[in-house]
Assembly symmetry: C2
Homo-oligomer: 204 residues x 2
Amino acid sequence: MPQDPVITSVTDLASSDAKWVSLKKVEYIDQLGTARSWEIAVRKTTAKSGVDAVAIGNILLHPSKPPSTLLVIQYRPPIGKFTVEWPAGLVDEHESAEQAAIREMKEETGYSCKILDVGPVLASDPGLANATLQLVMMEVQLDEKESMPEQKLDEGELIERVVVPLSELYDRLMNWSKDDKFMVAGKLFFFAAGLHFAKQGNYI
Amino acid sequence: MPQDPVITSVTDLASSDAKWVSLKKVEYIDQLGTARSWEIAVRKTTAKSGVDAVAIGNILLHPSKPPSTLLVIQYRPPIGKFTVEWPAGLVDEHESAEQAAIREMKEETGYSCKILDVGPVLASDPGLANATLQLVMMEVQLDEKESMPEQKLDEGELIERVVVPLSELYDRLMNWSKDDKFMVAGKLFFFAAGLHFAKQGNYI
């Protein structure tokens, strides 16, 4: 990358001036009949397809290399760091999560895939926002000589791709976290922690 | 529960009237030298301890029952459903994630624990917010006759606790998701997916 991104200002934004996010107040009656309220952040672009976003849990299988996963590293202004995440994207209006995952993977990597599992609609951050997502697990079978294909990115999208063997995923995420320039995304880390934990002992 | 919660209104909220959340505009220069901006949601209560929240990945060990985990079910106004999550909470100013996890687990369940792993600072939802969290994995050793102890909840906190064997976690989360009243929290599901995936085959 030619230079590190720099945040030049952080200013208050009136809801009415915001294009992408708004604040809402939810009034509700709780289980005991008490009137309460909650403040939430709402994306103005919330999908009409029933879910906002899809995360792509991908497994790359290669004839002579260990099973691996493709991660994306990109600058995220909300936290002012580079995040390490699985590829992800918003679900378009007439699309299923599965279709969105296949499309996004193709755009970000050029790979075609086989869907292994489509998870349920999940709450992304249920204390703060109404955002939802689905996890789509997919497998990509590579040929012996296959290398990384061309990306098809939108203008302004600067995404670096890194392939990590699954057996090293947890340790690699821990190592990235030691570098102040990077932050691992929560959901990817929780998946890695599940894998790591399953290998630890006689729990399951 | 005496009655189901009901949302009675959802209204626009001016940033200046909000007590808990605000909107900010981040201006930044990207890697190619282009000036760009991003809209983000920011908690007004952001922790001074370096991380906002802690999630408690807990394992209950019992002499004659399978290794299990304690989940909490609570009504979440941002999504208008009951979520299924691991116990979690905000980290106080002079507290580490580890201390917060021990305190929260004690408050929500009464259990004392042994810390297994403290994860790095993670981005909760890096496209939308600056919120961060850490995953603390802990083990609770129960006696043969030990039952669920008294909770110590704040006023207005209505939290149901459910114990699920780890070997059934993924399937149970899938089943909850089929009931329109419930939504599983993303991070818990990703952990369960990691466990589930590790059991599937010869990937790792």
